[in-house]
Amino acid sequence: MPSMKNYPELTAGGYSINVAEITGQETGSTMKVVIVDDSLPNALLAQSLVQRLDFVETIVFTEPTKALDWCRASQPDLILLDHIMPEMDGVTFMERFFQNEENRTTPVIVITADDQRETLHKALECGATDFLQKPFDPTELIARTRNILKLRANQLELAETIERLHILATTDMLTQTANRRHFLERLDAEMSRSRRFNEPLCVAIMDADKFKNINDTYGHAGGDDVLRSLSAITKKMLRNHDLVGRFGGEEFALCMPETVLDKGVLVANRVREAIADMEIPNEAGPIKFTVSIGITQYDPEKDDADILMNKADALLYDAKNQGRNRVVS
């Protein structure tokens, strides 16, 4: 008979569901199953059964507060939760667990005695995904765990796909700035915010000077390097809540919320100077180039998005006509 001291670390794991098999992707990751039961034999039994699954890591807690602490630092994929515990019941545990936004979609299987129908209903209402009745059928516990982990793997894959699609739909892949549609959506939201809170808002259009010459001299790869560097330095020089978008070709738009025109011009000039000082390495020799910028402040009484962008565009045209490498407001 093993003594308590000799029993392996409770947090030891390393088994479970093969995520790659479910999703068709070679993720090599394991699913984390947290077992919360104040009764050590029950917790260890559940652990031994769950470990029949491949690629599952099990973490056992006999104290619910410690389990909640762990869940604050790590993201479980499934919780097997005993309903009646002296420290706190399953419903209280779930209320606290689901307070964290990231846990809202994490499945929870509640384990309860067969004479606790009312509390079981409460647990299901509180967000439990499924339940098992004690004494639990080992085969049923393994099967339900496996099925829910399959759903969890699909759910995670779907969330990742949505995230990827969102990036593809909103980002210009060459420059990693907002694409035209996303920029205009964000501009619209910023204009509403500016109107509502009576905050200033500046919009600028920036264009690489003589970009055709760059392409002709350094090739399209050189031209792409210029666009990437221009975007990177512009993003670096703006604040986090400012937005840079590629409007097409070598033309970029800048949206600067809570910015009056004087300040906007100052920032635009800093960007222009930084770009003019930049050298981009190229086989044919370092590339140096300049930008022209037209900048204007949003007037809530007169401007819609089209008018605002047209105003900035006209000012950009003036900057080009006045000799390029300048900011016109």
């Binding site: 009764s39 029950n42 009646i84």
Partner: protein
């Protein structure tokens, strides 16, 4: 004397044990089962405290845990005793009459698993 002679109940529920053995080896199962007597001893300790404090709720909580564990492992006799001690209506005197049955059951299980 309780109305049930717990000593005469079978130690194991063979159906539950057989089900467990579909997923666990005999060694794994007996290793895990060896943790259950400790839960039983916790109930007896809580009962000793309750004699001094008069508060039976810690005994019932411990008995609830034991009942669940014994049930899961197919320990039929221990589950029946724990169920009786988990009864909210049970008095201190009734629990005291159950204690010797629980002690003997723990010893028998220890013997079985050693």
């Amino acid at each position: 004397m309780p109305s049930t002679d717990y000593d005469s109940l079978p130690m194991f529920d063979e159906i539950v044990v057989d089900r467990l053995l579909l997923s666990l080896s005999r060694t794994e199962l007996s290793d895990l089962m060896a943790f259950v007597p400790e839960e039983g001893r916790r109930v007896l300790i809580e009962l000793t405290h309750a004699k001094k404090t008069g508060d039976l709720s810690p005994v019932q909580v411990a008995a609830h845990g034991l009942r669940g564990a014994a049930g899961n492992f197919g320990l039929a006799r221990m589950e029946a005793i724990a169920r009786a001690m988990n009864n909210k209506e049970a008095t201190l005197e009734e629990m005291e009459t159950l204690a010797p049955y629980l002690e003997r059951c723990i010893d028998a299980l220890d013997e079985e698993l050693s």
